[in-house]
């Protein structure tokens, strides 16, 4: 059976499973559609949250991000997991007790203001729509790579599948498909990693293999990696080669941003009890950690593998010739994601850091005239892992299904957050409050269809800034929604004026800071200052600004609250009631 047929079978099989789940888990009421009628087991919700959270970026790109920087990019590992501690301690249990369906709904009701609700809807839409573009393009790329269809067809198939289970099943359908998608993506990620770990260290658990002895050289794997990198002029893997301050701020922004992402928060509305919301956050992190503890091992091992493949006799000896390169390099060269250029015409592949001034003299001595592996897309690391480890073809098919599962599960969660903000917060709460449950359910389905159409359109015509938008989404979630939610729970006296002023200042300050360095609306050459550390205000990178935006939000909200009227008595009672778990069951039927 050819690789193509196998990919088609495995991906097709996984899609058939998702559609079968959708038909089984149809939504009959708005409570089904928005919150799966709050009947989801907390462990199941943990797995669904993990799939909801781990996007195409986590699955495909994260190992590569870590591999090519090493210690410095541990920020992603800590930032994208540490947010769950904030969620479990500061938000999830209380929002579950509140017992409604959306994030803007809490902000609107708690701050007794339609203005606050509309500001929250705007923040949610900006965050979720920018985030969904990346998922749709990711799904399109995975399709075209593995199923030999063009990008557009791939994207349309992916949208069609999401359409079936999201429109039909709403949160209920999405939850159970996310459970299935979690199983597919975690298997796809760990199987090749286990084999690579065994080959390099003899340890079948990649996370332990990372800190084990490199079988071939007898020294610890990380020592070996540091040694070969330094011998080729690269920075060592375990050292830090950047600003500690920015590493701190960036990690903080990712953590706060994670806790403020609406599509993650609404997953905790689906469990029966407040205690389940806490427990579910713990399980979500366990399921996420299975991938996040494997990713740094995959990154380090793949980087070492690539270097030892090119320098089989050691980095101080001669590299392989171009004609000797392994098959996986040949097949990835066809995609353009990997490219070589024989700059000194010696037929060999010299891979080294030609930006290092210190290494230049050594390179000159060895007759090297520049790095000859001119393109190496970091996404190859995960996608080519099965080929690098020479695993059977079905593992590669599983990677295809896993990448698609990661992209589609996150897309579905985002689409639900977008559509419920439109049908529930804009229509039911603001514009047409008198519609019946049946009409609202229809409106929710129509909004979902509309959101999918919009996401597909943006996926087909990505606004050239797809890479930066993730920073924008996290920065805005950190600077707007997280502080408003937290103050709504932890400060009884926080009022409309404080919350709205805080969110607006957080939103505008973060947008302004990011646009100043990355261009207005990310349009190239419209930035007012060059994006370099010398120009940054107090050396703060625009990517790390979310944490500062959050601090501004808190401070402004507090000052405005002090000079304006206290919230009404019934709001202060509402805050007292969400602080205790008892009575969450009755809130479910509201």
């Amino acid at each position: 059976m050819s690789q193509f047929t196998l990919n088609l079978l495995v991906v097709g099989g996984s899609f058939a499973l998702y559609i079968a789940i959708a038909i089984w888990a149809r939504a009959g009421t708005t409570s089904d559609f928005y919150a799966a009628s709050r009947g989801i087991n907390p462990v199941v919700n943990g797995a669904a949250t993990a799939a909801d959270w781990m996007s195409a970026a986590s699955f495909i790109s994260m190992a590569g991000l870590i591999a090519f920087v090493g210690y410095g990019n541990s920020t992603f590992l800590m930032g994208w997991t540490g947010g769950y501690v904030l969620l479990a301690l500061l938000l999830a249990p209380y929002l579950r007790k509140f017992g409604r369906f959306t994030v803007p709904e809490f902000i609107g009701d708690r701050f007794y203001s339609q203005t606050a609700r509309v500001v929250a809807v705007i923040c949610l839409l900006v965050i979720s729509i920018t985030y969904v573009i990346g998922q749709m393009t990711g799904a399109g790329v995975a399709f075209s790579r593995f199923l030999e269809v063009d990008n557009t067809t791939g994207l349309l198939i992916a949208s069609g599948v999401v359409f079936i289970y999201a429109v039909l099943g709403g949160m209920k359908g999405i939850t159970y498909t996310q459970l299935a998608q979690y199983c597919v993506l975690i298997l796809a990620y760990t199987i090749p990693a286990v084999f690579i770990s065994i080959q390099l260290t003899g340890n079948p658990i990649p996370a332990l293999g990372l800190f084990s002895t490199h079988a071939e050289s007898g020294v610890p794997l990380l020592t070996k990696l540091n040694q070969v990198l330094v011998e080729l002029g690269f920075n060592d893997y375990t050292g830090h080669h950047g600003s500690k301050f920015n590493m701190f701020l960036f990690t903080m922004s990712l953590m706060i941003g994670t806790a403020g992402l609406p599509h993650v928060i609404i997953r905790f509305f689906t469990v029966p009890k407040v205690a389940d919301a806490r427990k579910s956050a713990g399980w979500a992190l366990v399921f996420i950690a299975l991938l996040y503890l494997t990713a740094p091992a995959v990154g380090a091992m793949a980087r070492l593998n690539i270097i030892t493949t090119i320098f089989p006799a050691g980095t101080t000896a001669e590299p392989i010739t171009y004609d000797e390169r392994p098959d996986w390099m040949r097949s990835w060269e066809k995609t353009g994601l990997l490219a070589f250029e024989d700059k000194n015409n010696d037929g060999q592949i010299q891979y080294y850091n030609d930006n290092s001034d210190e290494f230049a003299s050594i390179a000159a001595e060895r007759g090297w005239e520049g790095n000859e592996m001119v393109t190496f897309n970091r996404d190859i690391l995960v996608l080519a892992n099965p080929e690098i480890a020479q695993l059977p073809p079905w593992v590669l098919a599983l990677i295809a299904a896993g990448g698609l599962a990661a992209a589609l599960s996150t897309a579905a969660g985002l689409l639900l957050a977008i559509s419920s903000a439109i049908s529930h917060d804009m229509l039911k709460s603001v514009l047409t409050p008198n519609i019946t449950d049946k009409q609202e359910l229809l409106a929710a389905r129509v909004s979902m269809a509309f959101a999918i159409a919009l996401a597909t359109y943006l996926g087909l015509n990505p606004p050239g800034f797809a890479a930066q938008v993730v920073a924008l989404a996290f920065g805005l979630a950190a600077a707007t929604l997280f502080p408003a939610l937290m103050m709504g729970i932890f400060s009884k006296k926080m009022n409309t004026q404080g919350a709205v002023a805080g969110m607006l200042v957080g939103l505008l300050a973060t947008l302004l800071y990011i646009f100043t360095y990355l261009g207005w609306f990310f349009i190239p050459d419209t930035n007012m200052l060059a994006n370099s550390p010398d120009n940054w205000l107090f050396g703060i990178s625009p990517l790390s600004f979310g944490a500062i935006g959050a601090v501004l939000n808190f401070v402004v909200a507090y000052v405005v609250m002090r000079i304006t009227a206290d919230p009404p008595e019934h709001i202060q009672e509402l805050v007292e009631s969400i602080r205790v778990p008892r009575g969450a069951g009755s809130a479910a039927d509201h």
Binding site: M78, T81, A88, P220, T251, M252, P296, P581, R582
Partner: protein
């Protein structure tokens, strides 16, 4: 919960445990993995050829986060029962 004093005491106990958890949360990530890493490097401890700070950055902090959430959940379930605010 009818008794206001008991409600205030329950909330105070919750906020106290949240603060303790957040101190540990910050210590293992921002502390051990980033700002205090140079201090950990001075310890005569090595894990897999590198220092404890690197381990905390790539694994230790994530493992601590998991333990933190489950400990908080366990503590709060006990607190809920103690104050009679748990769900039946």
């Amino acid at each position: 919960m009818s008794d206001d004093k008991s409600a205030a005491a329950y909330w105070a106990a919750n906020v106290r445990i949240i603060k303790i958890c957040l101190v540990i949360w910050a210590l293992v990530s921002f502390g051990f993995a980033i700002l205090l890493r140079p201090l950990l490097q001075m310890l005569p401890l090595s894990i897999g050829g590198t220092d404890l700070g690197f381990w905390f950055a790539q694994q230790g902090s994530i493992l601590t986060f998991i333990v933190l959430i489950f400990s908080y959940t366990w503590y709060m379930n006990r607190l809920d029962r103690e104050f009679g605010v748990d769900e039946e």
